[in-house]
Every structure is written in C-alpha cells, then in structure tokens.
C-alpha cells in the first residue's frame, strides 16, 4: 500500500512522526518542583479514608507529593519484600505486617494498630434472590460467590474463616470466584457479575447504592480485622513517613476513618 504513495508524502509523514516523538521529550513537567515525595502502600479498603487523610497531610506539609499505592495487602507486602521504594505500609491484617516484621523490613517501634473492620455478606442491589444469612449461600440459585484470593487478600482469608466457621467452605468451594483485592469483589457484586460476595462493611458503604448488606459475620467466626501501619525500613523520608502515621492516628485522622465506617482505637470492644 505504501509503495503507491508519492515519495514526498512518505518523507513528510516520517518527519511529522519524528517531531511528535521529539516533542514529547520536551513537554514541560506539569507538576511544580516537589520538595518531597513519599509513597504509601495501603490496603485498598483504606482507599477513600487515606485519600482524605492525605489531603490533611498535604495541607500541613505543602509542596510535596504523596503517592498512594493501593492493592491487596499480600501483593503490597510482596512488593516491599522485593525492594519497592515504599515509605509507609498499612495492611488489612496482622499477617502481612508480621511477615515483613520477621524479615526485618519495617522499622521497629513505628508499628501501630489504627483501625478495625467487620466482614459482611453483600448481594447486588437488584438481586432477585432472597438471601438473608450466610447459610443461605447453600441455596441452588447462588451460582457465583466472590471473595478475595485468600493467598494474597486478607479479606479473602477472613471470608474463608467465616465460611469454614459456618461449615460452608466445602459445600460452596466450587462457586467461589477469587478476586485480586477486596474492591474487585465489591465491583463484581455491584456489577451483578456474581450473586454474592464478602467484603468489609466499610467497602459496602462506598457503593451503598449498588450493593446491599445481608449479614454481618459474627466476631468469633474470624480473626479480628486489624489494620497495622508502620514505616518501611530503607525509607529515605523517615521523618515524613512517621508524620503521616501520626496524622492517621491523630484525632482528625480517626474522625475520617470513623466517617468511612472504621472502628478506631479506644472504641474497640
């Protein structure tokens, strides 16, 4: 096809393409010169709360950049293990933090438990299936149940514990759809792609118009959902990292966490 085109056209378009790529190199940086940059790897269930807390942090420490890396806690811990340049790690379970702690990858003394959560069973808002309890998951109409992948997602591990507590695991194992993080579970349910899912109560609130909570897992059915936070060893901005943790655990930070439905220290049962 190109053979038919006049040579001049060929050369001209080549020049235009080249100018385009060279131009890309010189696009001025949109962000102003930053005075600092810290990266926070946090369990994705903390997304909305941490974004708000980040705003407070930036008001107090203007001029810098705060980078959030949200994901399944297991994935995030693995990234830190292989050397991701992360300053603060906030996990949705003690296990991931313990793993890093045993490998001596967090700074001792900076670790704090700052929030607590609950595990709930949700269904799509428009679901025609009358589901009212965990035991109803046995019903034949329930074909697909989403939970986080227990290997890397704490919410999935708690979900497995709950299902085992109700002696449901073996019966419904074949209906489980594993997601990469808890917000993906939420999305599957909200989109109606699955019949039910297990997330944190705080996640269900984020898309309250699309999903309905049908049951809350009893406290004794799973290990307590604890969120620990710590400064990662090797952080080049240790003071700022500690300050971020201080904001999270301050009264202001706690208020934000509470507004998203988390329980914070002091209120613990």
């Amino acid at each position: 096809m190109f053979r038919k085109l006049p040579k001049l056209f060929e050369i001209r378009s080549l020049v235009i393409v080249l100018i385009f790529f060279v131009g890309l190199v010189f696009v001025p940086e949109i962000t102003a010169q930053s005075t600092y940059e810290i990266t926070i790897s946090a369990a994705i269930s903390l997304k909305n709360a941490f974004e708000d807390i980040g705003k407070i942090f930036k008001e107090r420490n203007p001029g810098g950049r705060l980078l959030f890396n949200f994901g399944g806690s297991g994935d995030l811990a693995r990234q830190i293990e292989v050397g991701a340049p992360v300053d603060v790690f906030a996990s949705a379970a003690e296990k991931e933090m313990d793993d890093l702690d045993h490998k001596d990858m967090i700074i001792k003394g900076t670790r704090k438990d700052f929030a607590w959560n609950r595990v709930v069973l949700i269904i799509p808002m428009k679901s025609p299936i009358p589901l009212t309890s965990f035991n109803d998951l046995r019903r034949g109409e329930i074909q697909k149940i989403a939970i986080g992948n227990p290997k890397t997602v704490p919410a999935g591990r708690y979900a497995e514990e709950v299902l085992r507590h109700f002696n449901l695991w073996e019966d419904i194992k074949d209906r489980l759809i594993f997601a990469e993080n808890v917000r993906q579970v939420l999305d599957y349910v909200a989109r109606g792609e699955v019949d039910a899912g297990m997330v944190y109560s705080t996640d269900a609130l984020v898309r309250a118009k699309e999903v309905r909570i049908v049951a809350q897992a009893p406290d004794q059915s799973h290990r307590q959902v604890i969120y620990p936070i710590a400064v990662v060893k090797g952080s080049k901005k240790e003071a700022l990292a500690k300050e971020f943790i201080a904001v999270v655990t301050s009264r202001e930070g706690e208020k934000i966490l509470e507004s998203y439905g988390f329980r914070v220290s002091g209120q613990r049962k």
Binding site: G74, R191, E193
Partner: protein
Amino acid sequence: MDGSVLFSLRLSLQVAAVATVLIVLVGTGMAYILASKNFRGREPLDILLTLPLVLPPTVTGYYLILFMGRNGLLGKYLFHWTGWSIMFTWYAAVLASFIVALPLMIKTTRAAIESVDANLIKVSYTLGHGEFKTFFKVILPLSRRGIIAGAVLSFARAMGEFGATLMVAGNIPGKTNTMPIAIYTSASSGDWSKANMMVIFFTLVSGFFIYIANKLSKKVI
C-alpha cells in the same frame, strides 16, 4: 510437577487449542475476504479486527466485559434467556484468547493469500471453477504455509494471553487459572519455585513456536 501446575498447563493448552481452531476458521475466511474483495467498509473492518493486536489487553478485556458481562450489551440477554453467563468460565478465556490472537492469523494469512499468483486464480476461473472451488483447490493449497504459520503464532499468543483473560475469566484456582495467571499469582504470593518452573516452561515452548513459525513463513515468500 504438582497438581495445580499440571492443571494450569492443561487448561492453557485446552484454551489455546480451542481458540486456535476457531481462529483458523474465522481468520482464514476473514483474510480471504479482506484480500480479495473490494467493498466499502473493508478498511474499517480491517482496523476493527487488527485493533486487539495493538490495544492493551486490558482495553480488549474491558470491551469484552461491556459486551459479554452479566449486565453487558449481549451478556444481559444471554443471562436472561439461559441463566448462564460466560464470565469466570474457561469459555471466557477462550473468547479473550480468540479476540486477541485473531489479528495475527488474519495478517499472516492475508499476506499469504495476496502473494498467490493472480494468474493462477484467473486460470482456475477460466477453466470453469467457481469461487468456492478456486478457494479450496488453488488459493488454500498455495497459501497453506502462511496459514500454518498464522495458526502457530495464534496458538502461542492464545496460550500466553493474560490481561483480557484475567478480566473476563478471573483467577479461579482449578477452573480458570491458566498458566500466565498462575505465574502471576505465584509471583505475587512469593511462591518462587512454582513460578520458576512455569516461567522456564513457557520460555522454552514459546521459543519453539517462534522457531516453527519462522521456518514456515520463510518459505511462504
């Protein structure tokens, strides 16, 4: 090898094999139409079919969810009438592999068909063969190496599909975790020995496929 690795291997081969059969059938037909027919909409059709080759697989996956999801444009009716949805089944992995690998087949086959001596085709028509017979007796045999090369490349691409597959078929151990997805899970959960085994296997197999495809397509031209 432990059971879960063997399962992923078998599933990957199964998905790639089914997808490749469909790709060869549809791809050869499409390539013939694009190579020999001059109709309005040929360029747009070519662009549409080639897009998945250039698009990030996640974009392709997004479109597939849009069309085939339980509440998708087509998936909605499928679920309404049959109570079945393709999402999170191994068929979804086949669909994703099919869409992503199809352009490779079309491109390779189209080139092979276009390089068939036009005089031979004219002779076939002059001797009284219809289009159907000419296609099967003249064009197909003369472009078979290109078709086989396209099939081999498509198979390799289909077996390696990750992004779109993860979005529509999910990552369900024992059901939809094809080898690329199993590698992703192993690496992100720190199971390096399992990942190593699968990565080495994939590298060897892919290298072998490229070798075959090279051997075949060199002789096409």
